[in-house]
Symmetry: D2
Amino acid sequence: MQKITILIHCEDQKAIIASVTNYIASIDGNIIYLDQHVDADENVFFMRLECEFSAKNWDLEAIKADFREKLANPFKMSWEIYTQEYKPRMALFVSKYDHCLYDILGRYSAGELPLEIPLIVSNHEDLKVVADRFSIPFHHVPFTKEIKEEGEKQQIDLLQQYEIDFIVLARYMQIIPPKLIALYKNKIINIHHSFLPAFPGAKPYHSAFKRGVKIIGATSHYVTEGLDEGPIIEQDIARVSHSHSIEDFIMKGRDLERMVLARAIKLHAERKTMVYDNKTVVFS
Amino acid sequence: MQKITILIHCEDQKAIIASVTNYIASIDGNIIYLDQHVDADENVFFMRLECEFSAKNWDLEAIKADFREKLANPFKMSWEIYTQEYKPRMALFVSKYDHCLYDILGRYSAGELPLEIPLIVSNHEDLKVVADRFSIPFHHVPFTKEIKEEGEKQQIDLLQQYEIDFIVLARYMQIIPPKLIALYKNKIINIHHSFLPAFPGAKPYHSAFKRGVKIIGATSHYVTEGLDEGPIIEQDIARVSHSHSIEDFIMKGRDLERMVLARAIKLHAERKTMVYDNKTVVFS
Amino acid sequence: MQKITILIHCEDQKAIIASVTNYIASIDGNIIYLDQHVDADENVFFMRLECEFSAKNWDLEAIKADFREKLANPFKMSWEIYTQEYKPRMALFVSKYDHCLYDILGRYSAGELPLEIPLIVSNHEDLKVVADRFSIPFHHVPFTKEIKEEGEKQQIDLLQQYEIDFIVLARYMQIIPPKLIALYKNKIINIHHSFLPAFPGAKPYHSAFKRGVKIIGATSHYVTEGLDEGPIIEQDIARVSHSHSIEDFIMKGRDLERMVLARAIKLHAERKTMVYDNKTVVFS
Amino acid sequence: MQKITILIHCEDQKAIIASVTNYIASIDGNIIYLDQHVDADENVFFMRLECEFSAKNWDLEAIKADFREKLANPFKMSWEIYTQEYKPRMALFVSKYDHCLYDILGRYSAGELPLEIPLIVSNHEDLKVVADRFSIPFHHVPFTKEIKEEGEKQQIDLLQQYEIDFIVLARYMQIIPPKLIALYKNKIINIHHSFLPAFPGAKPYHSAFKRGVKIIGATSHYVTEGLDEGPIIEQDIARVSHSHSIEDFIMKGRDLERMVLARAIKLHAERKTMVYDNKTVVFS
């Protein structure tokens, strides 16, 4: 069996679901998952389908051509078709914090993530030892204000050389240059260690402690030019109390960061996220 | 605009979604919600749709006749169509605990529940004062082993007289007779004060305390003949610690019971639950 | 048996716990609960004790005098002693939203809250019907910019007449005058319908929806002059997704508001909160 | 500064707290944490203290002798004193599942766990590669019914050779022999992949799926001779729905298992757990 995932969004119109499901039926596909969402305010329709085809009917390029002509053009759809067998290629950007890196590489090694990790990039050498333990190529790309352009160029060269599909900032402590954001639009995932939009920017645990909150959080989001303002993919929280120090907040936060980032990576790699109007649709 | 909800389940077959959505499109309906589920083990297909029709096209009986002929019969569907304007009529069965009763009547009075409550039945007189506060008819129907048949008859008479669609046991401390269960199959909702299947039967908070659990729970389920064994609709939990007494468990549990029962009532009244094979499909 | 609760805070010093527990032992008291906290940054010590005395040893005024002389003065303590038999008197301020009001009165009637509610104050007449159902005195005190001083005077007169110990704003939609805040310092509890410090001020659910958050929250806090900036008592959250409308946020939020406000009321009435440096210590 | 943790339990009596805190004050110790609990049903008192001493007053053996004579003997206490500088030595027992192992070794390498891991024992060779990545000695000790005694002997020899303080079963799929349980009483931590006492024994995710629960859980507990019946240390849960397959349960469960086991390990290593009457007191 061949399995594909189809993502669609377009202006909401009558008979979209009927037309798409008719088409799948007409080529003997079997729909094993369908979820759709209408943003009533914006009048936008979103759909995610998973279909199976028996191998003998299988011609991906023919399906794509058909889909374009019969569905995408008439309905003016934005659309993508992914095969299950292709695993997206993810680059990890890290600095000095190692907890998210260990967590991601542990999950990857345990076979939990449907993706490839051909590349780790860092502005420091500290975490090379971790990359080595898991036998993943590690590239030290220094990045400071002074050598921003050189760093950016090196990063982009590496991403192209390794044919990277999306980037994960696993507590990478540098601003991403606009050019890279533009090249990987809605394909760079960051983990911020607060419950956004509370406490954007630096030292959110310190701010949370000072404010005396009873719950802390972490937020994974796609990177846009506005700092910590991109579309939110996933959030989670943990209870704290007066008895916890800033160090306790940071330690509890590490668990949140690991978990929330891992979920966002999985959702993205499984093609379950769509971005519209600085918000995400996250299919289950 | 007229709005209907359609629930379908049948053996999984090709082209069900296409056929149903085609039909809705053919009568100028607009699908505003569609969710479906395939139980791959049992090969059963479930779907819930909400559709809107402009008033001029609106003929519910014609739609039902059409649906039966064009869809339900060919696909051998079990199906139901509900209009949004009809509010299901709910009977509350209570004994002496008042916390769930206050919560439900408070929500009802605050306009949060899409249903009517024409009737409260109790095997004690204690809670008549609560029913009176909210001006809801209260009937005392004694129910003990000795007068079981008489009690059962009175209950069924009241349910018929008040044209009750479904029953909620808001901490009602009596076994429901099999005849009543059969009459209201998958239409009697109970709240059990444990995280089922842990601690079924009597005094679950005492058992939880004795076992030293770190989390307690509550479970709402449809009533079947097996005690606390019916299809689970909703569950939730609360953290406890060694510092909590049985009384603390009970007090924390009251919040769980209120919340979990209120959610189950809302899901049922909004036609978001389907039962199959002693499990529920709960659409979002 | 007589039971008292003692709350203490003072500069952190050696031997505070030993001195206090020695004293309790010396008068044949039995400590049934002791929790303490040291704010290491501010060097402040906090303690909460519950003690039991057999009736024959019981002389509250003598204990207070002793405590002042032997402990409070030498250690320069801020301190309070409460008897369990006195129930604090709470005023409810409401406007038009009824869900928190129903919830609080339901819990009160069900015997869950260790307090008295002798008074409901509102700037509208709408909720008189709810107060009447529960037979609680309701006073309509109009309050607008134009008649602010007159409103404030009426409020304070009522609070004094009914000997009110603390005030709960159950979705009361007016600013509290500074004079009232000063009179009831750390004794006015508000419920804000967001996860503070995110989304302070008006229409937080609308802002949360626009930002595309995946979790919404509610926050109970003591009222200070800064809008939504007072010491946080309790917070909780609920998951939301792209599939939820603003109306869904509001409906889910009602459950959060009810729950978080009820918990804060209970903590305050049980003397489990202490305020320091715009933060709370909340004993379990 | 030297820091010690004191754990005490004994029959509840008057003046215990006063006596202990007096003693600490008398030797110029500074109490930085004190929590106590009274099991009113069993009349047992539990206390955990952390104290700091300036280096010049520091004589651990003298403190222990004093403590025994002045406090432990008169009050008939069970007691332990730990220094912060000693890190307990933990052995990991694994079989073929690698997700908990990766998680623990990742946290260990990231410096989050206050313990040493000198030894990994497995009844299979599969996970040697993981141990090697983290440079931790791995011993293959075959263990089947037939060679139970030989296996048990090898295990105990290794535990003694490596001076192991406590054992963690990170999804180790073999029964622990009674002799080993007796040697490490309340010092063997297991992770069970259900919300105990629901679904003890084999294949709990399959049972949970069949029952149609809406929440799954994981439980860490000390190992006793009764299967999955030992004192519970920590539990947590995750929501599931009809849309999740058994494979989804298992995948979501892996996150629970990792998290709940990591928390239990940390609590044990930080001396925050006490066992009494098949239940745990877990200090915060």
